[in-house]
Amino acid sequence: MSVDSVGFRGWSEQLASPWLASWSIARTGLLLVLRRKLFWILLGLALLNFLFMFALIYLKAQLSAQNPAIERFVDRILTSVTGTGDSYLNFMFLQGTVTMLMLAFAGEVLVGSDFQQGGLTFYLSRRISRRHYALGKLLGIGMLVSITTTIPAVILFIEYGAMTDSLTYLRENWRILLGILGYGTVMATVLSLVLFALAAWLQKTVPLVMAWAALFVLLPVLGRILSRVQDEESWLLIMLWRNLRLLGSWCFGSVDAGEETELIGWAASVVLIVCAASVAAIIPRLRAIRVVQ
């Protein structure tokens, strides 16, 4: 395009699909989070556990290679690196603790500031709809969850295969990989929706951290107390994190038939209700766009 009379170069080319803008929103969100030192500290904390596991798998492989007789002995000591679905489930669950902490602080950066500083107006006045915006934000939060849970678990899975029987392990345990991806997707989806809903309403870090703590610390404590006092297991269903773990164990296929399957059904129902409530909370916030002060 030529430069016009006022020195400004025009532009008119084929425009991309608005769905691609969701990726730009997610990438920008992640960039903003990773620009803060606090998140690098938390990320480092999450990576410590990963590096520890990574080193244990290596150590186990070395010891087993030098003396195959001690492999069973090592397995008994290093129960967290047995290469079974449960070991990955436990690893992701543990990683989730740091992820929760990270999300509590990331809520304002990822979503809250859009409602405080007019970022929502910036986004929605472009060639995208509210759906594209919401997808981008959820994708951004989901990526943050995946960086600390799913991706390290997949790396450990590959490392375990490479350090042991290589392709045999990977071929025989493909179900574990599906479990990792499934549990990761469940965590990313649920946590994204809950964080988006809370951050859209609370916006600032302090109330967000308090609400997050209430949801993931206070409610579990309350659930345990009520369960003990009333001798009723169903109170444990108010523990969202436990429900997610139950769904995770279903993803890894480590669920016994009968009572446990029923429990997972209830856990899935609670998780679905939480997701639906989060969506219901997000919609009015996205509609309440303010163009002026």
Binding site: G7, W11, L15, S24, R127, V291, Q293
Partner: protein, 325 residues
């Protein structure tokens, strides 16, 4: 000439409050000023034009398309600069502008290239890698304009673009906007409470009050629609003469002891003043027609809503009336 936007019986309610009340407009491309007090309905109108707000009743068309049906596609042809800060803390200037380009449908590489160009065009090349929260108010305004311009929209929708700027910055911003809007096939809707800004940039003005259009048309037409206003000067005592003027319906606003601003009633000419001056033996030293600026037009229309129908039928081009005629 095809319309830039058409509003047909557009009404919008926020609960019990009516923000827009049966607005009918057919506006041709060009530079359009949107004037009104807080709560007049300017923001609601802009939200509806952007397809971000669904009207309670009526239809809004932009570039001939219903904004409710084609909101996303239409926003690709519109650049909106909001009054609010609308920044994303933590981003650099270049990232912000490039993101605006990407959200408008540009490929990432092209958006970055355009980001560099647009920031340079607006004199922000030195600050392109600075974080947004470190920008001054004037720089933030220019940055928002850069994000508005990056995809070269056909319509610039600017909300209070000079808010918070010093006089020099305001002049530069207005010159810039006027230049950008003067390009062929480009239009501008400028919303401002600073009537001078509208007067400097816009050819057409829409005056809103309490959700209704009380005046619309080319600036010159709005000015010429004023009643006859004059500055009158005389010598000596003139109490009887002034009482006589009031008796025949002339509105008087005293400036000092020997001058006043007079507004003649409809259908009367200056002969009335000369005749009364002759009868009271007053020697007039001056009778000068007043130049009415947009501010005067605005206050006249706001203050005389009983004449609303006259103003609208003379100057506006409401869709219904146009069709009827």
């Amino acid at each position: 000439m095809s319309s830039l936007f058409q509003l047909e019986h557009l009404t919008h309610d926020y609960g019990q409050h009516r923000a827009l009340d049966d607005v009918n407009l057919d506006i041709a491309p060009g530079t359009i000023g949107l004037v009104g007090q807080n709560g007049a309905g300017k923001s609601t109108l802009m939200q509806i034009l952007l397809g971000l707000n669904r009207p309670t009743q009526g239809v809004a068309r932009l570039f001939g398309q219903d904004v409710q049906q084609a909101g996303v596609e239409l926003r690709g042809r519109v650049g909106f600069m909001p009054e609010r800060s609308a920044i994303i803390p933590g981003l650099h200037g270049l990232e912000y502008v490039a993101l605006a380009g990407e959200l408008s449908g540009m490929p990432r590489r092209e958006a970055m290239r355009r980001g560099h160009e647009t920031l340079s065009y607006l004199g922000l090349e030195e600050a392109r890698y600075r974080k947004l929260e470190q920008y001054s108010v004037g720089m933030q305004q220019r940055l928002k304009l850069a994000a508005t311009l990056v995809h070269d929209p056909d319509l610039l929708l600017l909300d209070e673009p000079t808010a918070g700027l010093d006089p020099d910055g305001r002049n530069k911003m207005l010159s810039l906007i006027r230049g950008l809007a003067s390009r062929p096939d480009k239009s501008l809707v400028l919303s401002s409470h600073l009537l001078g800004d509208i007067e400097r940039v816009c050819e057409t003005t829409i005056i809103l009050d309490a959700g209704r259009v009380i005046g619309v048309g080319p600036m010159d037409d709005l000015r010429s629609s004023r009643p006859s206003c004059y500055t009158l000067r005389w010598k000596g005592e003139a109490d009887g003469f002034l009482d006589g003027l009031r008796e025949v319906g002339v509105q008087l606003e005293a400036v000092d002891k020997t001058s006043a601003r007079v507004t003649l009633p409809d259908g009367k000419t200056t002969q009335l003043i000369f005749a009364l001056a002759h009868r009271h033996s007053i020697s007039l030293t001056a009778l000068e027609p007043e130049e009415e600026n947009l501010e005067a037009v605005y206050h006249r229309l706001i203050g005389r809503q009983d004449n609303l129908n006259e103003v609208r039928s003379d100057r506006a081009t409401p869709v219904g009336q146009e069709a009827a005629s």
